[in-house]
Amino acid sequence: MEGLQRIAEGLYVLAVRTSSGQQRDPARAQIRAGVREALASLLSVLPEQITIHATPGSAPHIDAAGRKIGCSFSHEDGLSLAAFNLHGAVGIDVMKVQEIPDWEPVARDYLGPEACAMLGASKPQDRPRAFAQAWTAHEARLKCQGLPLTEWSAPTSAPQPPHLTELAVPADLFATLAWD
């Protein structure tokens, strides 16, 4: 997948292939430029009228000629994803599907006992994918809610984003989108 994809009314995902390497800054700049361009043409405004407000720990948003648009970004080696939702918040997360030796403490610490037990019960060969699915879903939800990643605690009464979907990405990656 590459380019702009419409997921639902007013909800878009932009995928940009990036060169693999350490630095995320160029990828960051690249995807932001892409979002600006895409939004500019969708909303028929100048790219200069679009600013992306992003701070770690709170949900980023786009100011497009005074209109507030939910957005979210995620980068993994070789692929950068951006999502924007004209009608509300959105969260996106992508990660590499890979063997994670320490999946168990990580799952328990952040995803909670339910997910941990679920992963523990999955077949070892299925686990990397199951983990990536659980992790990206968790992160996408958090991003959509504008919450930082923290250690798992009892579920709060914070409303969960009602929509969650897996995105079609190359097989070695897993990406999840959550939106209001």
Partner: protein, 1363 residues
């Protein structure tokens, strides 16, 4: 004073395309040489002044205006002046005066700026060094500048103990004026005296100091701002390090005009994500920045009206992106040698980026690069590329103590036109003056480079490298890799032995600032050279890099503290092959993101010393060194267990001996209930003329009296021994502990199960000291401190509820109150610790755990382990509580009393046919080969004779139950009925029959006979169903499908009672579904096929389940797939051969019958032995003998099981055996005998004594010293390991086997030392619990799980508990 004067347009060239500001070309210059550019000549900017004058002028003009803002802190100009005066006064007092140089080395912040202003106010000069510069380099600079001392803060001062000059702390310098202390003021300061010294990298390996005079810098500030136009109303971002001279544009231009500086929070400096947002939020209007930072901004900052870029080449894209009609953007250029900046360009989108034209009173010219001698300087015409030179008043005097270097770079100007341009400075930059009069800069002419805004002389690094051992020829280059500037060192080894890059990196890092340390070290066999002999840098640049992009792990810093060791290790695992440097940023340098941060925090927490670290810490600290500091500076770790001291051994054994002394009485009491009727029967039989019916009547009467006596002894004993216990902590093995323990044993001995579900239960509890309100319905419960239970009116309590309000925790007995307010509800199998409360109409659902201190608020429903709010209780879910008359209550009371008596008597009856049978066999002279007066022979004889008799007893009991069930009782139908109804009473009677028959039929559980028994009671049970022990079963409502498996202690579809109503619904377990140990299947559950409900789990709502699901935990979690046991054929799991069925049937028949045969044989032998004494009327002796015999019987049962276990099983080890194999039958047989005779007759009295661990060790367990065990739930004894001083509370279970998929899997359970395990917690096999860990109530540690040492975990399944 000229401030904020309107700037005048200036055209640097005669025919400039752009009309420029400050366009006042002095004609004389224009015609002197057309190839030299001059800024406007503005004599009024050249004044006799010093920095302090500028600041003080602003202070006196507007003392109340804010000078700086940092977070919530604001410092006005007046306050800045006052605080700077403190610093200045104290510096002067310390002997610092005009012309002297003071080092400035501390973290960013208001204090740093105040100290700097203080130095200025003292008339001295500062020598700024970045916070993260190594001390060694600081030392070189201080020595070189002959600094008078160094200013720092208390935190950093300890590193300067060997600096060899005074060290002044900010804390001391800024301390309020002491009494009597007067502040000295500076004397006259000549404008030619130094204002600051900036050190830049020097090509000879030594940094070079550039001294800028007060006059030069003051002039610069006025000059540049005459173009920039920063004004008092501006808010200026202060982002540069004071060691970088662009900080003057921020700080001192702001001071000059009286603007406000905005200091960012430390963690966002240079963070392109949050910085723009913060700038906008704080309405910052002026930004000075390097273009790289701006280009990374994630968003525009609308509040900025002025952006000034400098320090490096500015890409056009930045101009395009950030230009706004209402915003001015500038590009400034200048080396430190020319006082910050010498030229300036106004940036316009669509126009090429240049460095513009000279600032007022500066000049620019381009000469031929690399002239042979200074005398041969050749001025180049416009359009030609050469070395850029600067003239003007801003030029520094030269390099400190380096006349040679000064002479090389500062030349006398052959084209001088006046007193201010007599010298020129060669910048080393290649440039061209365009036809339009704008200067275009083309990069470095020599080997000086810029990295991260810092000017770096590569020669300095090369010179230092060459000093390292093993390094021969070397060259350092700046390369761009993946868009990242990177210093690469190319090295030819000196002696054939390649130097170690990590050593080189460490050596350089100790002497150079981080940005100057090459990140890559390329080893070459020979250095490529030009024909001239010079190193061919182009060839080097073209060479592909050999090692990993960001260096390699060998380049890592060496950990120096335990925290760093753990941290570096964890990082090395997460980022294999990458160098781990203290300076590195986790996110930007190492490429970490949230998932890596999460993994890092988890990995660090695995070490109990660092259990406090959270992912948030990693986000906040970012730098590896800082994370290590947070790790090391652990406060008393929260969330982990503190160390504690177990009670001393003497105390334990004193208590143990006292407990041992009480035990014979306890055991005898239990035996009396059996032996007394035995004795009575035989007392009235055997003589001619004795009537068997009369003997039976007398014996039954005695049995009833004995039963009643047990209640009375429990009540009396409890009050006598324990009195009324109060909530609180008492030492384990102390006096109160002993009193509680003994009372608990006595109460436990009473057959309270008889009262279950009846209104008599409330009276029993009241008699024990509990407060129980009206209309309370209690199924069944364990209650550990009855005095501390308060139940309001109309409360409903389900079945097998555990009120564990007495626990032993960390060497203390903790007694706590449990309060259940009016209308509250506690579901079946819930666990409540002490100090808990369920408020008015609060509901604690089944299989939930309410831990110490928790309370269910009024009208709320809590569920799960640990219990959490799941919503409000709907009071309209049930119709109003049905009214009941007093007469009905009384009638029910009588019914319960008589019902209990009847059932007790009825189920005692089948014992008599077996007596009669034995007597008959005996008299008929059976077993003639086992005859004799020896007690042992008699025992064997009666054991053998009792075998058929006991079989009859069991069959009769089963048939009796069935007869009552099918003749007297109506079939129960699903639906809702009031608790005061005949349906309830009938249901109660069915349960009583089941419960009472269990006394005799206990052995049937977990055998192939169990399904027949349940069918007899009315349940529908499919073929090949396995039922271990099911609790709360309402047989009419239960359907078990074919090949289902119900493991031990499953609460299976018990009735639901709440609000005065009882609801019964059919409960169905479908084909091949499996219900794990201790699980809770609520009434009305329909488990689809092939479903697995895990250990201690609660079945979910029917709608949630589908075929093949696995559910685990409370609340239940749907697991996607489960481990399938493969490799065992069906005939060993689900479809055994008839022969295997027969084999298992025989073994199980033996194990069902033998406990009864044993007790009858012992009874017979005993009774016959004491009969003559009784005949002689020596009743005291009779009682004594029976007591001793009872004790011997208890101990004998235990020894019997010990011997049987070792004989039949040997040592349990890790193994898997399918169900239909002799090993499993024998193992289950031993377990069943252990539970059937050893526990009830002996082991249960050892609960809570130091003797129980010893008893288990005899059975093969490995239990350490001082272990507190309040449980006998151990089966594969050899597989249980418990470390010293651990505490296992009631109903806990180290569960060493599971029967999932009909394969018995056995493995070890390892529990460390000093572990606390809360009530009803289970540790499954292959799990390990680390030392000093804590497990909360109803906690399930999963297979293979590892609870870390000192961890605090709780829940089903276990998870780290909130502190």
């Amino acid at each position: 004073m000229l401030l904020n004067r309107p700037v005048v347009p200036y055209n640097g060239g005669q025919n400039g395309k752009h009309i420029r500001m400050n366009d006042q070309v002095t004609p004389q210059h224009a015609h002197i040489h057309p190839d030299i550019l001059f800024g406007a000549q503005q004599g009024e900017m050249l004044r006799e002044e010093v920095l302090a004058d500028l600041l003080e002028a602003t202070v006196s003009r507007n003392p109340g205006h804010p000078a700086m803002v940092a977070g919530t802190r604001t410092l006005s100009y007046g306050e800045l002046d006052r605080q700077a005066d403190l610093v200045a006064g104290r510096l002067i007092a310390a002997g610092v005066g005009a012309g002297q140089i003071v080092g400035l080395w501390m973290a960013r912040g208001i204090e740093l700026l105040v100290l700097q202003a203080g130095v200025a106010k003292a008339g001295a000069a500062w020598l700024p060094v970045d916070e993260d510069t190594p001390v060694e380099r600081l030392q070189v600079c201080l020595d070189d500048a002959r600094a008078a001392g160094v200013l720092t803060n208390a935190a950093m001062a300890p590193r300067l103990t060997e600096i060899g000059r005074p060290v002044w702390n900010a804390e001391q310098m800024l301390a309020p004026l002491a009494e009597g202390e007067t502040l000295a003021r500076r004397g006259p300061v000549p404008p030619d005296s130094p204002a600051y010294v900036i050190y830049t990298s020097g090509s000879t390996g030594k940094p070079k100091g550039i001294v800028i005079s007060q006059r030069s810098i003051c002039h610069f500030l006025r000059s540049e701002n005459s173009v920039l136009g920063v004004r008092a109303s501006d808010k200026v971002y202060q982002g540069f390090s004071v060691a970088f001279d662009m900080s003057f544009e921020e700080i001192w231009i702001a001071y000059l005009v009286g603007a406000t500086l905005w200091l960012p929070p430390k963690e966002i400096t240079g963070d392109p994500e949050s910085l723009p947002r913060m700038l906008a939020e704080n309405h910052v209007t002026v930004l000075h920045a390097v273009p790289t930072l701006l280009s990374l901004f994630s968003a525009d900052v609308p509040s900025l009206r002025l952006i000034n870029l400098g320090g490096e080449m500015c890409p056009e894209s930045v101009v395009e992106r950030f230009s706004r009609p209402d915003r001015q953007m500038f590009n400034t250029y200048g080396p430190s040698e020319a006082s910050v900046s010498a030229s300036l360009a106004r940036l316009q989108p669509g126009q090429p980026v240049t460095i513009g034209t000279p600032l007022p009173n500066y000049g620019l010219l381009v000469i031929e690069a690399n002239p042979e001698s200074p005398a041969a300087l050749k001025l180049l015409p416009r359009g030609e590329v050469g070395e850029l030179c600067i003239t003007g008043v801003g030029l520094a005097g030269g390099y400190l103590g380096r006349p040679d270097l000064t002479a090389e770079k500062f030349l006398s100007n052959p084209w001088s036109s006046g007193q201010h341009d007599q010298r020129l400075y060669r910048t080393g930059d290649l440039a061209r003056i365009g036809e339009d009069g704008e200067v275009v800069c083309l990069g470095r002419a020599d080997d000086q480079v810029k990295i991260r805004g810092f000017r770096v002389e590569l020669g300095e690094i090369e010179a230092l490298l060459a000093q390292q051992e093993g390094v021969g020829t070397n060259a350092v280059l700046l390369r761009k890799e993946d868009g990242m500037d990177l210093l690469v060192a190319y090295i030819v080894a000196d002696s054939g032995i390649e130097p170690d890059p990590s050593v080189l990196r460490r050596e350089l890092a100790a002497k150079l600032p981080p940005y100057m340390v090459p990140s890559r070290y390329e080893m070459l066999s020979a250095m490529p050279r030009l024909t001239s002999g010079k190193i061919d840098r182009k060839a080097l640049k073209a060479m592909p890099l050999s090692a990993a992009p960001a260096g390699s792990a060998e380049d890592s810093d060496l950990p120096e503290t335990p925290a760093e060791e753990i941290l570096f290790g964890a990082l090395a695992a997460l980022f294999p092959g990458q160098p781990i440097l203290r300076q590195a940023d986790f996110f930007t340098d190492l490429g970490g993101h949230s998932f890596f941060a999460a993994r890092l925090a988890s990995a660090l927490r695995a070490d109990p010393r660092f259990a406090h670290i959270t992912v948030r810490d990693i986000y906040q600290q970012r730098r590896i060194g800082k994370i290590a500091e947070v790790l090391a500076n652990a406060p008393a770790p929260a969330g982990t267990e503190a160390e504690w001291t177990p009670p001393p051994a003497w105390k334990r054994w004193t208590c143990g001996m006292t407990q041992a002394a009480a035990m014979p009485a306890l055991v005898a009491l239990r035996m009396a209930q059996w032996l007394a009727p035995f004795f009575t029967y035989h007392f009235f039989t055997g003589d001619p003329g004795d009537s068997v019916p009369r003997a039976i009547a007398a014996s039954a009467g005695v049995f009833l009296l004995a039963t009643l006596a047990e209640f009375l002894i429990a009540i009396g004993g409890k009050w006598l021994i324990a009195g009324r216990l109060r909530a609180g902590d008492y030492p384990l093995w102390g006096v109160t502990y002993f009193r509680w323990w003994l009372a608990d044993r006595l109460v436990e001995a009473a057959p309270a199960y008889l009262l279950s579900g009846s209104s008599l239960n409330a009276w029993w509890l009241r008699a024990l000291g509990a407060k129980v309100g009206k209309e309370v319905v209690i199924g069944s419960m364990t209650l550990r401190a009855p005095d501390l239970l308060r139940i309001g009116d109309n409360v409903s309590i389900g079945n097998a509820v555990n009120f564990e309000n007495a626990r032993v925790e960390r060497g203390r007995l903790r007694l706590g109150a449990i309060t259940l307010a009016n209308e509250s509800y506690v579901g079946s199998y819930a666990v409540l610790e002490g100090n808990t409360q369920v408020e008015q109409a609060g509901h604690l659902e089944g299989q939930s755990a309410l831990r110490d201190g928790a309370q269910v608020p009024a009208g709320r429903v809590w569920s799960g382990s640990p219990a959490r709010d799941t919503g409000a209780f709907d009071p309209h879910r049930l119709p109003p509580r049905p009214a009941v008359t007093r007469a009905r209550l009384l009638g029910e009371g009588l019914f319960f009393v008589f019902g209990i008596l009847l059932i007790v008597t009825l189920f005692f009856m089948p014992v008599f046919p077996s007596f009669v049978l034995i007597d008959w066999f005996d008299e008929a002279g059976w077993l003639p080969w086992v005859q004799g007066d020896d007690l042992r022979i008699q025992l064997l004889r009666y054991f053998l004779l009792a075998f058929p008799a006991s079989t009859v007893l069991i069959v009769l009991t089963a048939l009796l139950s069935a007869a009552i069930r099918w003749s007297v009782l109506p079939r129960l139908r699903p639906g809702r009925s009031p608790i005061h109804s005949n349906t309830y009473v009938a249901k109660w009677l069915v349960s009583q029959i089941q419960e009472s028959s269990l006394n005799v039929l206990h052995g049937i559980y977990a055998t192939i006979y169990a399904p027949f028994w349940y069918r007899l009671l009315g349940a529908k049970v499919g073929k090949d169903a396995e039922i271990s022990t099911a609790l709360g079963v309402v047989p009419d409502m239960l359907t078990l499908g074919d090949e289902t498996f119900i493991a031990d202690a499953v609460m299976l579809g018990d009735e639901e009672i709440d609000g005065g109503w009882m609801v019964m619904e059919p409960t169905v377990v479908s084909h091949r579904s499996f219900v794990g140990n201790g699980a809770y299947i609520p009434d009305g559950t329909v488990l689809p096929e092939h479903v697995l409900i895990g250990v201690h789990s609660r079945a979910p709502d029917n709608a949630q389940m589908k075929n093949g699901d696995t559910w685990l935990g409370s609340p239940p979690i749907n697991l996607p797939a489960r481990e399938q046991t493969s490799g065992y054929p069906e005939h060993l799991t689900f479809h055994p051969s008839p022969l295997r069925r027969l084999g298992r049937g025989l073994i199980e028949a033996f194990r069902i019958v033998s406990p009864h045969a044993l007790v009858i044989a012992v009874g017979y032998t005993l009774v016959l032995a004491v009969m003559p004494i009784a005949g002689a009327g020596r009743w005291g002796e009779v009682i004594w003998d029976l007591t001793l015999a009872g004790l011997a019987y208890g101990v004998g049962n235990f020894i019997f099981v010990v011997l049987l276990k070792w004989l039949l099983i040997g040592r349990y080890r890790k193994q898997s055996e399918p169900m239909w194999t002799p090993f499993v039958w024998l193992s289950e047989g031993v377990t069943n005998l252990y539970e059937g005779i050893a526990v009830p007759n002996f082991m249960r009295y050892l609960r809570g004594t130091p003797w129980l661990p010893l008893a288990f060790n005899l059975l093969g367990s490995r239990i350490g010293r001082g272990v507190y065990l309040d449980t006998t739930d151990i089966t594969e004894f050899d597989c249980v390991h418990i470390g010293d001083y651990s505490e296992l509370n009631a109903l806990t279970c180290p569960q060493t086997h599971l029967f999932e998929d009909r394969v018995m899997k056995i493995d070890h359970v390892q529990i460390g030392q000093r572990v606390y395990i809360g009530p009803r917690s289970t540790v499954l096999y292959s799990a390990m619990v680390g030392d000093n860990a804590r497990l909360g109530p109803l906690t399930l540690v999963m297979k293979g799980e590892h609870i870390p040492a000192a961890g605090n975990w709780a829940g089903c399944p276990a998870a780290p508990a909130a502190a």
